[in-house]
Symmetry: none
DNA sequence: AATGAATGAGGGTTCATTCAT
DNA sequence: GATGAATGAACCCTCATTCAT
């Protein structure tokens, strides 16, 4: 019997997804290359090979597609870092969080356009909205974090607040450090940054 | 006695300064009330009581006046906090920096439009450019900071990096906390935040 | 039988051509009545009954439509003269060219706005670009000229240079003569002018 | 007793002339370098080292100064050619006019910006207005021409018309030939052109 | 679902001209 | 005569959005 998603494995459905993906990929390329301000909906539609009107079948406007992209890209960064974490045998939450931070830094170092794009948007609002509340098919970040704290031997006063502060510290500092090497290049900044993260965590231990 | 052609020295200059100030004040009001995006140069000029073309005598475009305003407003926030600091007898650098943070938070709590306006722009680039390098007539912030570190009994590994991290942590967290009370209202966040600041500083002591 | 979605073939295309023609006709009228400098794109669009933005779907800017018009109008003048030439039985190239010159003069005498418009633009660059190189659907001027020289009993040193000189002499002189009757009204100038054309041609015979 | 123009050989007078000359020289430089359209009165005034308002003390607007310049520059070209003519012992008017044409061509070949500037403006209206009617202090061109025809052994049907046609032929052809080498580079065009001039003259002999 | 021609409000910017000093 | 800050009309051009096909 055919389930909910059955239909004849829809050509139309696949086509729709392809169009949306084409729009997203094109938009990301244009946003990072020439800036959001200088990218028009015409640009995106034309380069994606669809008509201008078609854009509006999938997104409300330019900012709709931007937000969609930021969330997706940020999620991918976290997912990759978490994937790598699984290959380690780090046990203390402190080590694990520093590992994640390190891996995130490393991804942004290799892809500065991505850094510029999500830059400071990798912040609490988006993090929470996208990653904590809506466990999607691909990655259950909320679950991951909850579990991490539950399995940790060390307990913290307010895990959410702690993550919040670490995230803001991380996202705030790497932008200037990676892009402008100011006040220090990222490799020289890391010791200070990781020390700070650890000391924040320790100050919150119960 | 003044003759017909005897200009009051600097009358034209004063006039020019007034025009520029009128433009700046108006722009700030409009930017905070209706957003930068929805504020047009026509709006600013009209409300400031000058012709549209006059705007261009003083500023290159909308972003020129915005940057000017951010730097000025951010400077004022620091200056006021520092002014209050002088009325205390706090001696340890840790206490003094937490005091400054507290006072800055208090200013932004009372003036959310200001927070939205300079929000995350209160960042390293602007801070350094405007406040560290160019001691202006009104406030010698570079001098203040240098002196603070020199008179401190405690020494730190890298004062600049330390200030950088504290500033990013502060500016990153207060936005979400003051405006959205997320993850906590600012008054409840403060203990965590100040603890974190202190622990960052301690981790950097030599 | 036509279905609901069966477009009349080329209905949209016809519509586009009409819009473009409306713009061209309106632009010509405004250019000749109030000058190119004093004609704005708004003027043209409004009078043509289309939106301002529509103008930019068809032409890059004011000078784009001007060049288009000059070429078209100049082409029409030549085409009409050549059409009349066919009704004669003139055989010598000298007679045929003087006939063409006479007919061109006569057209401009009757339509001074046209003269002012293409005036000195009826020159070599445009003549060559538009009329010699790209035989369009309506008139194969290059072919006409080539044929004229090939069928002529008389041969000339350099036909292209000869046409060039005659054209510049003609276009240079009629402007002042027709519009300002200076140094002579066109009817009195003609004998001198035609004599000059004939003598130029004779000087180039091989 | 002091005559009308006396005054103490005026410093003010000299100053005024200098300002006007500075404006004229600057305008010419800007017109030829960046085009009349893209040259603003501000540009001219600033580069000439005078205030914007001062421009209006000497010229009505941009086109006033342009016309002034065209007439002056065109006059200089003729004057130089005529000066050289004096160093020859050419007697026939035909030879003398071809000599002038040759010398004018040579000047424009060496200074293409000048050619672009006066280009087709080296035409009858300007020629007549500036050069034939108003014998100025520096050059009595009307006198020169009148004399040339009077001393010529050969008589012509209508000298003015003849000069008119030759001038238009010359000014029309050299532009395309010198700037674009089309239909021939100027050196190759010359034989055809001079032959044409001579044959025009011969066709007008009485 | 897809198209893309048409729209037209609206922004940014320029610059000739004035006039108080 | 000289200045140059101020003016503000004028204009170009973009581009998000619609809708008939």
């Amino acid at each position: 019997m055919r389930e909910r998603n059955a239909k004849v494995p829809g050509k139309a459905e696949a086509n729709k997804r392809m169009k949306k993906d084409a729009l997203l990929n094109t938009a990301f390329e244009l946003f990072t290359n020439q800036g959001i301000h200088d990218t028009t909906i015409s640009n995106i539609a034309e380069k994606a090979g669809v008509a201008k009107g078609t854009f509006y079948l999938y997104f409300k406007d330019k900012y709709d597609i931007r937000n969609f992209l930021i969330a997706r890209k940020a999620g991918e960064v976290f997912a990759r870092a978490d994937e790598e974490l699984k290959n380690t045998d780090l046990t203390s939450l402190e080590d694990r969080i520093v590992f994640l931070a390190d891996h995130i830094i490393s991804q942004f170092s290799k892809d500065r356009t991505l850094l510029v794009f999500i830059s400071k948007n990798l912040s609490w609002a988006i993090f929470k909205k996208q990653l904590l509340s809506a466990p999607d098919e691909e990655m259950d970040l909320p679950g991951i974090i909850r579990e991490a704290f539950e399995t940790s031997h060390t307990r913290y006063r307010n895990p959410e607040v702690m993550i919040f502060m670490i995230l803001e510290l991380l996202s705030g500092t790497i932008y200037s450090s990676i892009l402008y090497e100011d006040p220090l290049p990222i490799d020289e900044l890391k010791p200070y940054l990781f020390d700070s993260i650890r000391s924040i965590m320790r100050s919150q231990e119960i």
